[in-house]
Symmetry: C2
Subunit: 800 residues, 2 copies
């Protein structure tokens, strides 16, 4: 699928050079705009044709019962699903009574471009209507990173070959009809007409709709307001827009502002639409209405379009200044990693104590749920490039602690048991062997807390939320494991990251992450005994955690001289890869769980993820042997795998393989490698692009001893440069073919390790060291047909 | 719960000496009559009050979708549930316009009695109506063991204190309203009004109703016919019943035959009702109607009530003659084991190539599904006491082979994968870790085949069904296991009998039963190469089976010197029994599966069942150690446990414990020990009473080397005598305090082992040997509060 010829290669843009209708579901996800609060899929302005209409507000969901043919104690009974809220994107156009629809008439040209520096989606179309009138249509769409409640569209129409009667209908639409979805168990459940109208009101140019979500009872308000201009091309002067007729109307599920009139060649009708959104579980109807009307007033009257756009550009400029990744020698990866960073920022910047779902707000896949993806992948990256977003996301987790404590108690455990999948904190996983049993999410959250604190030293967060998260997760492990007669601490009956195994004993990833969790929790309790006491944590408790952590059982297969992913894993039969045809992947759609669970087949990095995340717990020789053992078993039926494989491949000297995995992670969505980008972007894989570059080729590891690097470059690259925001400071790591330059900006000197060497970086003074890449080894093989696409540095995807 | 004072103690009857309304759901199950084809729960003749109305036809079921909040490949989509078919039991009575209802007026006396020799349920009531009229009501109910389609009721009313206007309404009722059932996941799902009427027709005294089950499309026909007599008490002469008025009517879901008139003291109205049932998935409506009308004609006109009753008694006399178990020294157990044998016979005798459900046809518990209970418990016993029923039951399994082959193929396996729970052969288990993964059912079916062939030598069955069952189940194991690099054959990812563990590796019970399955299948293939060839089985295939069987991996915990139930089991944390209050049992209703699975807690005999079923695979010392290890972990939250524990307890010298477990198995239903006998009888536990007696105290084991015994008696017993039907022969084993007498009847001499001694039994010549009971050992402990009730030989349950 690599190389959709409709995407141009551009370092700062994702351009689509012609419209391919069958790619609409895919491009709607790629061109989605979001600020973490509002999400607008990249549907065409006129609403159709479409793949999946999608307007999301972070946290707005509907409830539905979770059915079980055979119930069991502690099964979650209520599910949550993100819903498509009021669509404010739609602007319909009629040209001489012909509706503009790309499927009819002649599409002379159709270009779209996601501008990563400006943070807008642009569209430029020349269309000849079925009756022969040609018009140019340009639109610019923005979801504001600075004005949390605001999105806007500027829409311009210019007749090219004669006067045309132009009618524009700007709409707010609730309860849009959604397409029937496929039966893939991973695709979102659909819910019919979830919005019940409370208010529909109109002003001169403004319409406000307030709805209540039928079962969850959440209130959703949306309002739009408009400016209309008639611009004369040659002198740029504005004609009198009063020459255009205007009509405004609203009903329960529809608001419509209509402008129309005859427009001459050389004249452009310019409609600027401001949309405000708000939602609440508690606020009253009038308050909700005032909230969106107020936001609109600020954005439209106080700021206006140009200011909104300028703020957006400034915000991004600051981001790129500190956090850009520059690559020389691979234009595709350069584009892809910037796209990835842009989408990560979009998913998180204004999420503000809401979850960051696995697909952000770019689609309804996975029901809009957040998983461990957030902490283990998305926050892993954001910690170094946009740490305040991480604090927000972890504060959201912290806000769900009461629910997680209840869940732990229901399960007979201490501390907190965070949900495998959720919107508000309630467990929504209806298949516990791959949900509830995946307790590693507790350690993953703790790991994100630990990383955030290492990077930022944020004392307020540490005291307010950080310690409690570490303490409560440590309590879970202490109650989940047990000390056996021989003095080993064992954790039985859990599911690790690899979803092709379940309910196993002593999953090494889980045990090692729990070990770190217990030790770091013990540290904070010991260092802050007074504050710890408010959480009921004592030195005796922390001592017990240390004892468990230090006794953590890590199974080892002496016969095969490798780490088994979990007890007995390496005794299992090998999956019959040779007789598994390519169309049988992903395996979970073609084989029963029971077969997957009982054989040596790995959906996604698990032991290999442990090699990355707990790099300190393995020798290089162990990493090499383990990597060589698991590679031929790993089918990568999950997008949460390639980046970890890239990181370890790079470390153990399989540089080409690391490069191939990097490309897979980075191009997952742009090239739709899993053919489900239509459901929304794979945020974790986007994060994985950065992880593969920075942890992989940069060799970044972060422990209590600080940051360390072991940089190397893929063959053919001449540069990899990345910036890390470290609290008040900033570190730029610039890897060249022969050396690496570390440049730290900040108040105090900063120490990092370059390989085995400790470097003291004085602010503003670059330090250069030669590269000492690992000895290159032949890479292990992958299951038949499941090797990553081989990437050559001099082959870029076809462009038009 | 031991000792409901309403049950009298009687060696050949289960009498209820007064009516206790709150026990109705319980007694409806105890007093259920069945022949394996028709099942009538023991509801009162007048229909109410009732616990659960229940009329079942073996195989008649409704379909319903199985919902999954998260679907998975290979999950069964359609469930099957036994339905309550047309109720032909009802006879309503009015006395002077007052309906007879035990809740109103005065119940002077109310006795019921299940007569184990006559095979009828008798009732004898004296009732004074609210208006003061006293009548005697007697009824006798029968489901014919000899006339498969026929049930009948004789109902008599006699005014005691003056003339009364008596009206009798004999009914056929379809789509009875059923009570709401509790949420216990094990209780049957209820389905509303499943019957759609096709025919309702009336004759002079006959009504026929034919219905179609809404979704399954099965046709169900029921017909009733009547005789009416007016009997004068003193001379026994019949008055003219024409003095009574008669009315007959039918509509879609109701047939009603009404008889009424004034009856004098000394006169008895006697209504005899014959009911015929039939069902078919294929036969036409007229054929169905003719079928039941024909059956009625034979029963009523050709035979009549007295002949029906005489046949029933003769049939049972023959059964008891050969298969009775006699006990001296414990009247309760004597009564209980006869009740058990009677109910086993009822469940199976005329099942004729239909399943024997876990609850027979005595209730709708477990949706009327058959499980491994059938082969491992019910057929285990029936093989020695009513072998033709076993052939029928195994022919039913054989008839489902095409479905089981499809299921195996769907699961990626060879051979056949029999369903965990089913009515027709389709897998109906919606929770695969405790369903599909419990592949041991294949070996259990093979074990039943092996046992049946050992006992009967039935060559026709061996060639037609037996070999194919053995071959196809062996193929499953060969594909399910794998030979590891070290030459051990491992079976991973299965669930053994203990449902508090799941998806484990190398469950010892499963591996040992699979080993037997593979070896015996290899034997039949090698001994009958020509016939085997028709199944595609060759010497090469059987050699492969032998290789796997001989390499079967049996884990052993060297540190603790016991067999782990499965890999790693003994490394798990112990369940916290001390802090588990009594009301938290059964644990599955109060703890999540994930906790049960990851700890050392055993729902039901698993390794201990292996000690029993594969007694030959363990030394006595191993049995002692293993039994001592698992007893403190076993909570017996399943009725499939006590009997196996009794058997092994007896073998390892824990005689009192064996006795206690015997009592629990034997009294499970009579004393409602699990408080769910209302859903139907626990057939496996009823079978367990016999198993505990014969395999336990009789020490019966049956291998390729033949039958062996190691008899002993519980303290205080003076006799245990049981009969085994062995093909054309019969063996009576009569255990007395000091010796045992073996008496074989048959044509050829028969060899058995008494302990280590081989005895050659000449037909008709008793052989006596002294008892050599095992050295008595102190029994191991059980989880807190979960020890069986201690039974003393001189304490019998309270009787009135």
């Amino acid at each position: 699928m690599i190389g959709h010829s409709c995407f141009g290669n551009d370092a700062w843009n994702l351009p689509e050079q012609r419209l391919e209708l069958e790619l609409l579901p895919h491009t709607e996800s790629l061109f989605a705009l979001s600020n973490g609060h509002i999400g607008w899929r990249g549907t065409l302005d006129e609403g159709e044709p479409h793949g999946l209409p999608g307007t999301y507000l972070n946290g707005v969901h509907e409830l539905h019962p979770l059915p079980y043919a055979e119930a069991g104690y502690g099964y979650p009974e209520s599910g949550q699903t993100v819903i498509n809220v009021t669509n404010g994107k739609i602007i319909r156009l009629m040209v001489d009574d012909e509706p503009f629809d790309v499927r009819y008439g002649t599409l002379v040209s159709h270009e779209r471009c996601l501008d990563l520096k400006s943070g807008v989606l642009r569209r430029d179309v020349v269309w000849t209507s079925p009756t022969g009138r040609t018009v140019r249509i340009r639109s610019t769409r923005l979801v504001s990173l600075t004005q949390r409640a605001i999105a806007a569209v500027r829409y311009e129409v210019e007749p090219l070959d004669g006067p045309a009667r132009i009618v524009l209908q700007s709409e707010l639409v609730a309860n849009e009809e959604l397409p029937h979805r496929h039966d893939d168990p991973r695709a979102a459940a659909m819910l019919q007409d979830p919005l019940v109208n409370d208010i529909h009101s109109i002003g001169d140019t403004r319409i406000t709709l307030v709805h209540t979500v039928r079962h969850s009872g959440l209130r959703v308000a949306a309002a739009m307001d408009h400016t209309i201009e008639l611009v004369t091309k040659n002198d740029g002067e504005h004609s009198d827009p009063d020459a255009l007729g205007v009509h405004i109307e609203a009903e329960a599920d529809l608001g419509r502002y209509t402008v129309g009139g005859v427009v001459q060649p050389g004249q452009t009708v310019r409609l600027t639409k401001f949309v405000a959104y708000g939602w609440s579980a508690t606020r009253s109807l009038p308050a909700m209405r005032d909230q969106v009307d107020g936001a609109l007033a600020v954005a439209m009257l106080g700021m206006g379009w140009d200011t909104l756009c300028a703020e957006q550009r400034d915000c991004l400029a600051e981001f790129w200044e500190r956090s850009d990744v520059e690559i020389e020698g691979d234009a595709d990866i350069q584009q892809a990693v910037r796209f990835a960073l842009f989408q990560l920022l979009q998913s998180a910047r204004r999420a503000e104590q809401r979850a960051i779902p696995a697909k952000g707000l770019t689609g309804s896949g996975y029901d809009g749920h957040a998983f461990w993806d957030t902490e283990s992948f998305v926050l892993h990256v954001l910690t170094y490039v946009d740490a305040p977003s991480v604090a927000h996301a972890l504060r959201w987790r912290h806000s769900t602690l009461p629910t997680a404590r209840e869940r732990a108690a229901q399960l007979g455990l201490k501390g907190c048991a965070f949900p495998w999948r959720t919107i508000t904190g309630q467990e929504c996983s209806a298949y516990w062997p791959a949900g509830t049993a995946a307790f590693h999410i507790d350690a993953d959250i703790a790991d994100a807390v630990i990383r955030y604190l290492r990077v930022t030293g944020d004392v307020e967060f540490a005291h307010k939320e950080g310690m409690e998260l570490l303490v409560e997760t440590a309590r879970l492990w202490q109650s989940l494991g047990h000390m056996d007669e021989a003095g080993a601490f064992r954790i039985a009956g859990v599911t690790g990251p690899d979803e092709y195994s379940a309910i196993v004993d002593n999953n090494i990833y889980t045990n090692l992450m729990a070990q770190q969790n217990l030790l770091r929790a013990a540290d904070v309790v010991d260092h802050h005994p007074g504050h710890a006491a408010t959480l009921g944590a004592s030195a005796a408790e922390s001592a017990a955690w240390r004892k468990s952590a230090n006794a953590m059982f890590i199974p080892y297969d002496e016969m095969r001289d490798v780490h088994p992913q979990s007890d007995g894993f390496t005794d299992h039969e090998l999956w019959d890869f040779e007789n598994t045809p390519p169309e049988h992947y992903p395996l979970l759609l073609r084989y029963p769980y029971f077969q997957l669970y009982r054989k040596q087949v790995v959906k996604q990095a698990d032991l290999v993820l442990a090699l990355h995340m707990r790099s300190d717990a393995f020798t290089l020789e162990q990493k090499q042997r383990d990597f060589d053992y698991y590679e031929p078993l790993t089918v990568r039926d999950s997008s949460l795998s390639a980046c970890s494989q890239a990181v370890v491949a790079a470390e153990v000297g399989c540089t080409q393989l690391a490069y191939d995995y990097l490309a897979e992670a980075a191009l997952m969505d742009i090239d739709d490698l899993e053919r489900n980008t239509s459901d929304g972007l794979h945020l974790a894989s986007l994060a994985g692009a950065w992880i593969a570059l920075v942890d992989g080729f940069g060799g970044l590891r972060h422990t209590d001893d600080g940051l360390s690097f072991a940089p190397q470059l893929p063959k053919g690259w001449t540069r990899l440069c990345f910036g890390l925001v470290l609290g008040d400071g900033h570190l730029r790591v610039d890897v060249r073919p022969d050396d690496v330059e570390y440049l730290y900006s900040g108040k105090e000197p900063y120490e990092v390790r370059h390989g085995d060497t400790l470097l003291r970086l004085e602010p503003g003074t670059p330090v250069t060291r030669p590269l000492t890449p690992p000895k290159e080894r032949p890479g292990p093989s992958q299951p038949a047909g499941r090797a990553p696409l081989r990437r050559a540095h001099d082959v870029v995807r076809a462009t038009t």
